[in-house]
């Protein structure tokens, strides 16, 4: 493997490749900064730029765009509460709170550091384990995928803490919204009311922009202007203590991200939500989650990036795209006359290992570019809110329009902006709704396939050991904390009764 690695770095570390990788990271970051344009759109839009390049150089540049766009989405999630893609939604929860407290620089820096560490860990795993892991991922059929989606929904609901009913309600409302459009399996139009626009469903990118960006603008207008953030440049820098505090979250996020990223579909989104949910339970600073905990940014960002790399496991080893962006990249492979799959590692070692080495280089460039720039980006918040929020409305509308070049998208943003405002006013969680909406089509696909595998019997889920294990874990997540809480409450009550009884007895004695 070492020989292959050396070959990879020899391929990637040419001046030309480094320059294109840098350009890719830079362009990707700029694309990711625009609301509505995530890494998938970034790679798709900039794909024609690479047509004149050598295949290795082109793929290296596209990988740079991929990472850059992901980080660009993080910047808007933190600064403006506007996630570029579903996987960045969780980052808004604590990242935006940090920004409001004048710690946007620290949030952006930990996102870059966490992403970098996650990338290195996941790349090492990817290089060492890609072929065997791809075989393992193949054991995940529709039944296991269905169980995994249920686990994802349970985790995101369970991290709502006391507001379990509302979290579950919002997640299932998201699922329900995802049923609008052409039905998976039958191809029948469902809840479209004759609208052509609704045939392709309620677009989740526009829903995210509406809920998070416009919803926040309307909410801020109602709650009133806050004191402008006047943090000094020095205060915008991340401290060593904050980095050390975030390390466990980064490592846990990287592990979770890599494992889930190998699964085709919503791997990155599930990974970011799950890692946040788990971190919220196990972190020492769990009480600070939701109000600007740095671990709440470090964990999903690491998971997100590790999942992005793990997405390449099925893409490279099997030729099955791990996510939407890797699907576009798979298209790029075929444009360059390459056939991803088990033979790619043998037939094109220079290309595969060059690409893997370029992931490393892309992440180094991303860190070098964005770590010093994090406090600079954070200065954006110094702009008076009277100018900032019309700009947010403008970029939200144009970003939404550009997703499908259709005014329908802008209307969706407006409608969900109002819904987001109402949800914020009523303190209803928005993240479960987005996850439900994103997972909905995949969930239904897995449901239809599972039902077909079982000849109509959904109980087939209980005959698959992996699925049973996943569902048992989901059940434990819901029941164990309640049982523990009930037992603790019972013990505390009986102790209090015993103490009261002893006091009463001693007062009678005296």
């Amino acid at each position: 493997m070492l020989d292959n690695l050396v070959l990879g770095f020899q391929t990637a570390l040419t001046v030309e490749n480094l320059l294109w990788c840098f350009l890719g990271v830079l362009l990707g970051t700029v694309i990711g900064l625009l609301p509505g344009l995530g890494s998938t759109t970034g790679v798709a839009v900039l794909l024609p730029l690479t047509f004149t390049l050598e295949p290795v150089t082109a793929l290296i540049m596209l990988a740079g765009i991929y990472y850059g766009a992901q980080y660009g989405g993080t910047i808007t999630s933190v600064l403006l509460s506007t996630p570029g893609e579903a996987a960045s939604v969780v980052t808004t929860l604590d990242g935006y709170q940090m920004a409001k407290q004048g710690r946007a620089g620290a949030a952006l820096a930990i996102a870059a550091i966490g992403s970098f560490i996650a990338a290195i860990i996941s790349l090492a795993l990817l290089m060492a384990l890609a072929p065997p892991l791809a075989t393992l991922a193949l054991r995940f059929g529709p039944v296991e995928n269905l169980a995994m989606m249920i686990l994802g929904l349970v985790i995101v609901v369970s991290f709502q803490g006391g507001a379990f009913v509302r979290g579950a309600l919002m997640a299932i409302v998201g699922l329900l919204l995802s049923t609008v459009g052409v039905a998976t399996g039958s191809g029948e139009a469902r809840f479209t009311f004759g609208s052509v626009d609704l045939l392709s469903g309620i677009p989740f990118v526009e829903v995210m922009i509406g809920l998070f960006a416009l919803g926040e603008v309307f909410h801020q207008l109602r709650t009133g202007a806050e004191k402008p953030i006047r943090a000094r440049f020095r205060d915008m820098m991340i401290s060593r203590k904050e980095i050390a505090q975030s390390m466990p979250a980064i490592f846990r996020g990287s592990g979770i991200g890599f494992l889930l990223g190998m699964l085709p579909g919503a791997g990155s989104t599930l990974a970011s939500f799950m890692s946040y949910g788990i971190e919220r339970r196990v972190s020492r600073n769990r009480a600070g989650f939701g109000s600007g905990a740095i671990e709440g940014v470090a964990s999903p960002e690491s998971a997100n990036n590790a999942a992005a790399n793990a997405n390449f496991v099925p893409t490279l080893a099997l030729g099955i795209p791990g996510g939407a962006t890797t699907a576009v990249l798979l298209g790029a492979f075929t444009i360059y006359g390459l056939q991803p799959g088990p033979l790619l590692f043998e037939q094109q070692p220079e290309l595969v290992w060059g690409l893997l080495a370029s992931f490393f280089i892309g992440n180094v460039l991303l860190l070098v570019l964005n770590l010093p720039l994090a406090p600079v980006f954070a200065q954006m918040l110094r702009l008076p809110y009277g100018y900032l929020y019309p700009l947010i409305i403008l970029t939200s509308c144009v970003g939404a329009y550009s997703v499908s070049n259709n005014m329908f998208s802008v209307w969706v943003v407006l409608v969900f902006g109002v819904i987001g405002f109402v949800m914020k006013e009523l303190n209803l969680p928005m993240a479960p709704l987005v996850l439900g909406l994103v997972l909905g089509p995949l969930f239904e696909k897995a449901l239809v396939q599972t039902s077909a595998v079982g000849n109509g019997d959904l109980g087939i889920v209980f005959t698959h050991p992996i699925a049973v294990g996943i569902l048992a874990f989901a059940l434990a997540l819901v029941t164990v904390p309640r049982l523990v809480g009930a037992v603790r409450g019972h013990v505390a009550r009986s102790r209090a009764d015993r103490r009261a009884g002893t006091r009463e007895k001693s007062s009678i004695d005296t």
């Binding site: 009913v165 109602r222 202007a225 403008l394 070049n405 009523l426 239809v448 000849n455």
Partner: protein
């Protein structure tokens, strides 16, 4: 937690309960299963709708209970205890009262709606430019010169990045200018 917010939450959950019930009916209409017993078009909407209905009703019950607990016995249950009602003292850092902020919100919502409706007439960029000017000058009372500067730069950047670099066909409306 105020009484008015609880009422709003109850109303919101009640609306969701109705949506859930409608989804169940719709799902049943599409059909739950095929002849061979496999999942059909209406299965997921019906199941999800049923779950929404049940959870929304639980949420309504919880909200009613919390509203009752928040209300000391014998106190009138009329509106006025809400957020807006306490607006006389609720002033933000710019000196805006709650009622003024509520008016601003309605005006901004109206401006956004108006701008989107204007797109087919004057085009996307001009509508958005008008939206930004209306907000910065009309609502926020920012300086005229700096507002115009911000708007011109923002629209130019959008035109350059989206219209020219990314090739997004931004609607030019009936005017057909930009």
């Amino acid at each position: 937690m105020t009484f008015s917010r609880d009422t709003a939450r109850i109303a919101f959950s009640a609306v969701l309960a109705v949506v859930g019930a409608a989804a169940v009916v719709g799902g049943l209409g599409y059909g739950l299963t095929n002849d061979d017993g496999t999942v059909h078009t209406g299965f997921l909407p019906a199941v999800a709708g049923g779950a929404v209905l049940a959870l929304a009703l639980v949420d309504v019950a919880q909200s009613v209970r919390s509203a009752r607990r928040a209300m000391p016995p014998g106190e009138p249950t009329s509106a006025g205890a809400g957020d807006a009602g306490s607006g006389a003292e609720d002033v933000d850092v710019l000196g805006r009262t709650a009622s003024r902020r509520n008016r601003m919100l309605i005006v901004v919502l109206g401006i956004v709606l108006g701008a989107v409706l204007l797109v087919p007439l004057i085009g996307f960029l001009l509508s958005m430019g008008a939206l930004m000017l209306a907000i910065t000058l009309g609502v926020e009372r920012m300086r005229v010169r700096s507002s115009i500067l911000v708007v011109v730069i923002a629209i130019a950047v959008v035109w350059l990045v989206f219209g020219q670099l990314l090739g997004v066909p931004l609607p030019t409306g009936l005017l057909g200018l930009i």
